[in-house]
Amino acid sequence: MKQSTNEMIKRIRFHGRGGQGMKTASRIVGTASFLEGFFVQDSPLYGAERRGAPMVAFTRLSKEPILERGIIVSPDINMIADETLLNDQTANVFQGTWEGTVTIVNTHYPASHVRNVYGIVGEIVTLDITEIALNVIGESVLSSTAAAVVCKLTGMITESSLEEAVTRELSSINLKKELVEKNVQAALTCFDRIPETHPHYFESIKEDKKDEIVRLEYADPCLGSPSVYAKGTTKLKKTGNWRLFKPVIDHEKCSRCYTCFVYCPHSCISIDEEGYPQIDYDNCKGCLICFCECPKKVISKDREVRTW
């Protein structure tokens, strides 16, 4: 059950792909909250991955000193900046969401549709911020638009703080003035598109989950040492969802020279019975080395759209 609380903290989680700007989004919201005079924390969670791989970032803002650090398991606001992550088991974008969570999905679908397909609990808001970014900024970098939506949904951040925060954060990463201005414009557009909300706080259900303390016993070294006996476990870690662009081979024109096969750093290209190269899209990371190296230039790159 949703229960009101006087604990005045907003926990915000951002889901996106490396390179989409979610770290910067978390920082814009952080700086805007800071400018409003709140206690603030923001932090990204880096894995060993790179551009295109699912990533998370966090912002906390509060009227009182924050007695938390690290990852946010149960967000009050959950920003999903890439709709393809909804389907991604490993990204686990709904972790810890509950009736008090406001989830935002960057999509052109209406909120009701997303709710029906994914059975999302709590409130849901949708807005196609990619389209706004493309129209206003000319690139699908989502830092300022995602931040703007979140700022509005907190009900605690003014337009002027958002504007100042976008300017500060983007200037600090050496973005050109002109581009910063376009980002501000895109942010303000998003800010306007989200209806006014009043801040409300609900008791988080997180604490109610009881966990038991267990006692570890000595284990046979076959268990108790960090070795892996199973073979080929690398296959379990699918890296196909890191791709922003997909290499596509035109087999009609391919000369079967195997240059791509040799160069693929992830061994994602195999040779079929007829001698043609085939790409394993479950694991191809989209580095596009094959695209660059093909001497015949018969590999094209397609924008990755994972429809759902």
Partner: protein
């Protein structure tokens, strides 16, 4: 003074910049690299007047740092985890030379298995080197502690290097509001370093770092390091007093949280203390007289202050975010040693290990600690060191062991683990 959102790493870089250091020898390692990147950028841009040198390893880096300090330069450097261990030999040399410098360690669990998140086996491995050790819990504290550390290190009652610790990720990559003091204010607090005992001047040659053969000579100098370290207890408080006067923020060797009238005390260090504070706040709401101490100064160990804070308390639980295999928690030993002769010491002192490799310490775990304290008070039986590990954690490891092929007969004894 300006207030800005800074990561722990940027706060560290600001500390070095405001201390007007002369020399920064550097070698990159995650999660510390942002510190030296920031400094190298500032030096390149001309906003900071210092010499920056990329070294070939941490061993060379600490050697360069120590030798530069021996010429009378003010030196700053930063490392993390394996890097600190790689330069380990030189830590003893630098303290033996009695030269001041400030070195940051960004905590990260030691390999193997390799990881990125923090615990304190890295920094505590330097416990006996003679470095003064201060562990920070917020981004502001990192900046402030660097300024204080130069005052302490360069005091002629001390003349020892200082290691400052911050947790990887939880501080290093986390931004929070930090006050950046004005240069003028800092110069009121931290004067120029002007060594009388170890410097470089062509007209005044001296030999430093000389060899000694014979135990009596060796003992003399080693014990001087110990006495110098003990002097920090006094010097730290003086420096903290000056710091408070000029900047308004106060730091003590041990931070107290809700300690007045507390019966149950939890002792922690570094950034995870915030989780302890949240737990204590919750316990207080439920009417339990809980309190928390955060050990900030680790070397020298503030035994006297600890006794004053703990005498008369009912139960104490120490959470060591480190492990000395075959012994238990490292700080637990220091704490119990400090209290042994006190007639009014707490009735029970319990030892827990938690947060290894950055594992969360959840409220369930703090609940367990309080329950165990209560049980020990009632029965008078104090349990051996316990690892804070939950059923959820066990499920996760079991799942991974499965994937690693450790379940199906032959190799593994998974059945034992399952029950």
């Amino acid at each position: 003074m300006v207030k800005e959102m800074l990561t722990g790493n940027s706060a560290a870089a600001w500390g070095a910049r405001l201390s007007e250091v002369d020399y920064v020898p550097a070698f990159p390692i995650t999660p510390q690299t942002e510190i030296i990147e920031t400094l190298s950028q500032w030096i390149n841009d001309g906003v900071m007047n210092a010499k920056f040198t990329n070294m070939d390893s941490e061993h060379s880096m600490i050697t360069a740092a120590g030798t530069a300090a021996a010429t009378g330069a003010r030196v700053f450097s930063a490392t993390s985890s394996q890097g600190l261990l790689y330069g380990y030999e030189m830590l003893y040399n630098v303290t033996g030379w009695r030269v001041p410098l400030v070195l940051i360690n960004v905590s990260r669990g030691l390999s193997a298995p390799i990881t990125l998140e923090p615990d304190h086996n890295d920094i505590l491995s330097a416990r006996d080197t003679g470095f003064v050790q201060i562990h920070a819990a917020t981004c502001q504290e990192i900046l402030d502690t660097i300024l204080m550390a130069y005052r302490i290190a360069e005091d002629k009652r001390v003349l020892l290097p200082v290691l400052i610790n911050m947790d990887g990720f939880y501080l290093s990559f986390t931004r929070e509001p930090v006050e950046i003091p004005d240069k003028e204010e800092v110069s009121k607090f931290l004067p120029e370093y002007n060594p009388k005992h170890a410097f470089f001047k062509a007209s005044n040659p001296m030999s430093q770092g000389v060899a000694v053969l014979g135990g009596s000579v060796y003992s003399y100098f080693k014990y001087q390091v110990h006495l110098a370290s003990l002097n920090v207890l006094t010097v730290h408080d003086e420096v903290a007093g000056d710091f408070k006067r000029i900047f308004g923020r106060s730091y003590s060797a041990i931070e107290s949280f809700k300690m007045d009238d507390a019966d149950y005390v939890i002792i922690m260090t570094n950034s995870f203390t915030i989780k302890g504070k949240a737990a204590v706040t919750k316990f207080r709401k439920n009417g339990l007289k809980a309190g928390l101490l955060r050990l900030r100064l680790i070397r020298p160990f503030p035994s006297k202050e600890l006794r004053t804070l703990l005498n008369g308390k009912k139960a104490v639980a120490v959470i060591d975010q480190n492990i000395s295999p075959g012994s238990g928690g490292i700080l637990f030993n220091d704490i119990t040693t400090a209290l042994y002769h006190e007639p009014d010491r707490p009735e029970v002192i319990l030892s827990f290990i938690g947060g290894l490799g950055g594992k969360d310490i959840s409220h369930a775990e703090f609940n367990h600690i309080i329950e165990e304290m209560g049980k020990s008070m009632k029965t008078g039986v104090v349990p051996e060191t316990q690892l804070l590990y939950t059923k959820g954690d066990l499920e996760q490891i079991n799942n991974l062991l499965n994937i690693a092929g450790k379940t199906s007969g032959g190799l593994g004894g998974i059945e034992e683990l399952k029950d």
